[in-house]
Amino acid sequence: MQEMMKKKAIELLQSGEVARVLGWKKGEFDYDITPAVFESVEEIEKEFIYNSLCSPNLSKYLVKESRKEGKTLIFLKPCDSYSLSQLITEHRVIREYVYAVGIECYGKTDADTIKQKGIKGITRITENDGVLNIETLYGNEKVPVYEVLRERCVNCKSKKHPVYDELIGEEGEMVDDCERFDEVAKIEAMTPEERFAFFRNELSRCIRCNACRNVCPACTCEKCVFDNDASGIAQKAASDSFEENMFHIIRAFHVAGRCTDCGECSRVCPQNIPLHLLNRKFIKDINELYGNYHAGENIGNRSPLTDYTQNDAEPNIVYERGGKNNA
């Protein structure tokens, strides 16, 4: 796979079809892979990498890169491709300046997930037939990739690429039996007290590093409301539990109907806050109330929050629907 991608990138760079390539670059260790812009064949040959550890979604970089002279080649996993499609819909990226190569994906892992299994002191990771050979300071381990998949990959929603110029590998389909809403449903079934306690425990760990916001392909505002002193709600660090809640409610609300559920927010959170739950709650509500909608599925789709029907449910549906009442 990696060799095919390198070949494609070099071919397109040499032919002048593209001016730069967005891909992943080798790290200090085998797992700390950085998104990178390659502008020469030498760089690609030396540093380009693609494997099961290439988690970062590259689409957002196009907002910046595609404004440069010439076309930008981007490699897209299916979920990254949804993000790009949504960015094109929102006119944040101009389709003509992008050369999109879809790549098949069987799920990604990352160092955090591996380390959470108790594997520490990793010095080397090699991959063979879906099995990771992990060498550590304290002995070696063999772990199949499927055992250390990221949550978003365990609950993969689609292996299809809504936007691409060409594909490497096979095109997949939407995953019908995706269970990504199960956890949301589980929380919905709790009492308000339990839900409150659950989210307080999660959100109180927030250190307001803004990684979730800055990595989000849907958060492309030039100036965020939370950075705008004139907005009256600008905050750098939550001084109060209220501010933690406010930041996360508003962050999720601002991407509601536009979030493609790429899971980057949860991936980057240094405190492992399951931020995707908030986004998924919105997606689940939208699906249930306004019909199934998947942001980024088709370019030009109208987001459910910029749309309406005369017979939409009234907000009091919230009082009647699911969940236990106040005890």
Binding site: E194, R195, F199, D240, E243, I249, P315, N316, R321, N326
Partner: protein, 146 residues
């Protein structure tokens, strides 16, 4: 008359659209219909002007309940504003509920300019609900408490 000290009087913020609900509130007033003085009305051009942030900020600043009133669907002065507001508020209320914040503290009602009676009864009912819930504890900013 001296109020009984421990009696809880909720603070209610009502965002009323300029064209229907605010006029409805006016009508309630001219008709001398009673509704609690704890309701503080904020006039907005349209119910869809209400940003989720307004609601959160109201809670931060000490509101115990927030109600949004707009024209009946189909009657919006700007044709479609309240349809958008309806979707947004539905999702926002649902999210607040998801986070375990009492859903009864937020409400959206359609009140036309002719419905002074409905305005008064809606407010009476909402104040009653919030009074029963008690003080807003889950979405409060401790710094703003005296």
């Amino acid at each position: 008359m001296q109020m009984v000290n421990n009696e809880f009087k909720p603070k209610i913020v009502a965002f009323c659209c300029n064209w229907c609900s605010y006029a409805g509130a006016d009508l309630a007033g001219t008709n001398r219909l009673q509704y609690p003085a704890e309701v503080k009305i904020i006039r907005v051009p349209c119910s869809c002007r209400v940003n989720p942030m307004f609601i959160l900020r109201a809670f931060q600043r000490g509101a115990d309940g927030v109600i949004i009133c707009g024209c009946h669907p189909g009657d919006c002065h700007y044709t479609t504003g309240n349809y958008y507001a309806r979707r947004r508020m539905t999702l926002l209320f649902s999210m607040l509920d998801f986070l375990g914040i009492e859903k009864e503290r937020t409400r959206l009602e359609w009140v036309s300019a002719a419905e002074g009676q409905k305005f008064a009864s809606t407010m009476n009912d909402f104040v009653k609900t919030v009074t029963e819930l008690g003080e807003n504890k889950r979405l409060e900013d401790l710094r703003c408490k005296k």
